[in-house]
């Protein structure tokens, strides 16, 4: 049996999405900027896709900017907002952000910005009083993720954005993991900028979105033509935009399922693994969490070894272990949460999607415990 449980890394392209894209690789090759109907037809489809994406997050279509990926959206938001913020030099972020945010703000720190990286507690949550205290006179931007990719922990974005707004500071959120899984409504969330990545919600890799609230000062990152109302130059990636529109439509329709059926599959798997494996523990807040993600540490064994053994059984997951990335230290998220080294190296993330079924959970719950047992027999830290 092949079981794909690495949907926070990337998702399968929905067949409906592929279907929607195909004409734009063949007959509908027009440039949406052109003054003829070959281009005009395409332009209409792009605007339809824009409306669907807007609907997914409760935004106005004019607030949707298509980009090439989540990383581009994060880079554009952070650098564009700061450049437009007239000399404000302080950034607030968290220690558990995705590298797309963390590398960008640390790069800026080397170039004269000052940076506050908020710590998280053992369950991956930020202390709100600490957050509020981090604001300074010259704070130009807050960038806090909506949900964490490794643990699924959800931050109180509504509350955090409100605090930033109260202080007149632009608020960006990387919602790459949240979009499509959680209900997002920008009409009542006072965030100004929000990043989405297509391939996390069953569109292909190579398409992203930056939501820019109307009136938010932003300097464009890509310069050139007047596409995307001058906010992102470059000829539109038509098939992928159309695909993302369809994916957004499917996500809206599947939102209820995500929070019922998928969540119960996740809970079932999590419960079975924690029960069957001794010295296993959940990483991240048990409630404030994406419905599709579970991150479990198996003490005294190493993640890469677990993943390769799972792989042999046809199961795809991921790990916060040092060895899987080629770096020598375990994931920055596990370290920020203070997960002990004995557990961080053996952390495994399972992330589900709408394509998972119950028998797959039973299969994993059956295959994983003997793998952990076997690796512990090899481990010098487990005494007989």
């Amino acid at each position: 049996m092949n079981v794909y449980l690495d949907n926070n890394a990337t998702t399968r392209v929905a067949p409906e999405v592929l279907e929607a894209m195909l004409p734009y690789f063949k007959d509908e090759y027009g440039n949406p900027s052109s003054m003829h109907s070959v281009g005009g037809r395409v332009k209409k489809e792009i605007e339809a896709a824009r409306a669907k994406v807007a609907e997914l997050i409760g935004a106005d279509p004019q607030e949707i900017v298509f980009t090439s990926c989540g990383t581009e959206s994060d880079n554009t938001a952070i650098r564009g907002a700061l450049e437009a913020s007239s000399g404000k030099k302080h950034i607030i972020t968290s220690r558990v952000e995705h590298p797309a945010v963390l590398s960008t703000v640390r790069y800026l720190e080397k170039r004269g910005y000052s940076l506050t990286e908020l710590p998280v507690d053992r369950q991956g949550m930020i202390d709100m009083s600490e957050y509020e205290a981090a604001f300074r006179e010259d704070t130009g931007l807050v960038s806090i993720m909506w949900a964490n990719n490794e643990t699924g922990v959800i931050f109180p974005i509504h509350e955090m954005a409100e605090i930033a707004r109260g202080k007149g500071v632009v608020f960006h959120t990387d919602a790459v993991q949240a979009a499509g899984k959680l209900k997002i409504d920008m009409k009542d969330t006072p965030a100004d900028l929000l990043s989405i990545s297509g391939h996390k919600l069953h569109a292909p890799k190579g398409i992203g979105v930056l939501y820019v609230r109307r009136g938010t000062p932003m300097t464009p990152f890509m310069l050139g033509g007047h596409q995307e109302s001058g906010r992102r130059a470059g000829t539109e990636n038509v098939p992928y935009i159309v695909g993302l529109g369809r994916a957004a439509e499917l996500a809206i329709a599947g939102m209820a399922e995500e929070n019922t059926r998928i969540k119960s599959l996740r809970d079932k798997l999590e419960k079975a693994l924690l029960e069957k494996c001794p010295d296993a523990m959940l990483n991240g807040h048990p409630e404030h969490r994406l419905p599709n993600t579970t991150n479990i540490s198996f003490e005294f064994v190493e993640g890469e070894a677990i993943l390769l053994m799972l792989n042999r059984e046809g199961i795809a997951a991921s790990s916060g272990s040092a060895c899987t990335s080629g770096s020598l230290e375990p994931s920055h998220v596990m370290r920020a949460m203070g997960v002990p080294f004995t557990a961080a190296h053996g952390s495994i993330r399972f992330s589900l999607s709408r394509y998972n079924e119950e028998p797959e959970m039973d299969y994993v719950a059956e295959k994983l415990p003997p793998i952990i047992k076997r690796l512990r027999e090899l481990s010098p830290f487990v005494k007989k």
Binding site: E302, L328, L378
Partner: protein
């Protein structure tokens, strides 16, 4: 995903000689949970002082488990003196090679073997890690001696390689300058050693200089000239080749890279593996 050889995967999925030996003659323990890998090695000698049994327990990734398994297979039937000669490269070679970022797993194997032999000879209680000399990398507790040995035995030339082989420098990065110094020192030593070594069977000094000249003319100059640069041979001392970059190359920001990736690589290919290139100091 790592590109592991079939042999690595075989030794990972079906590790040989897992376990402990109660009345072992030598026990070596290296690594720690914090480091992400650790290995305890046991061996037992027969009446002829040959290793009749070797067992291991390893916490770590696939290549750490495979390296440990390979090591126990390799030292069985060997005397202590023979086993002592096993290098980390032998372990990697036995497995059909390891990805460079995973070479530290083979180094861990050799360190455990050293520790076990030391334990056999001195009867000293085994420590989790023997700290000998100055600690260079405080993040991973790697000593000067360990770095020197890895650089020497594996002919390492960059900090990145040292990190792949020993983990040193893989944390905060604060020790990178110290690692660079060690690399420079060890390479200088090996260069001196190379001139003293009896190499004439292969190349006399005159032959070597001639070959360096020919390679410069044929392989390197045309490439540099395409970019408006040139190179001049200043001196050859043993394996050290001193050159001067001319024309566009002389003030090119990428001159250092050119020296390593073009000049040194070609000379290694056509003259000798131990060649290293330095720019003439002005």
């Amino acid at each position: 995903m790592w590109d592991y050889t079939e042999k690595v995967m075989d030794h990972f999925y079906n590790p040989r000689n897992v376990g402990e030996i109660e009345d072992a003659d030598g026990v070596g323990e290296v690594g720690s949970l914090a480091c992400g890998d650790a290995l305890t090695l046991y061996f037992k000698l027969d009446e002829n002082k040959k290793i009749k049994d070797a067992k291991f327990k390893t916490f770590g990734c696939a290549s750490a488990i495979a390296s440990s398994s390979a090591l126990t297979e390799m030292i069985r039937g060997k005397t202590i003196e023979e086993a002592e000669k096993v290098t980390n490269q032998d372990i990697a070679a036995f497995l059909g090679g390891l990805p460079e970022q995973k070479m530290h797993c083979s180094v861990m194997g050799r360190e455990a073997l050293d520790a076990a032999i030391e334990n056999y000879r001195t009867g000293k209680t085994v420590q989790a890690k023997k700290i000998e000399g100055k600690v260079i990398c405080t993040c991973f507790g790697v000593t000067e001696k360990e770095i020197e040995r890895a650089v020497r035995e594996n002919k390492l030339t960059t900090v990145e390689q040292v990190t792949h082989y020993t983990k040193a420098g893989g944390g905060c990065g604060g020790c990178h300058p110290a690692i660079e110094e060690i690399i420079a020192r060890v390479r200088a030593e090996t260069a001196v050693g190379a001139t003293n070594e009896a190499r004439p069977a292969k190349l006399t000094t005159i032959q070597r200089i001639k070959l360096v000249e020919e390679t410069l003319e044929r392989e390197i100059k045309p490439q540099l000239k395409r970019d408006g640069g040139d190179i001049e041979l200043i001196d050859v001392e043993g394996s050290k080749v001193v050159v001067a970059l001319r024309g566009m190359c002389s003030n090119c920001a990428a001159a250092g890279a050119t020296l390593r990736e073009v000049v040194e690589a070609k000379l290694k290919e056509f003259v000798s593996d131990d060649i290293f290139v330095e720019e003439e100091k002005r």
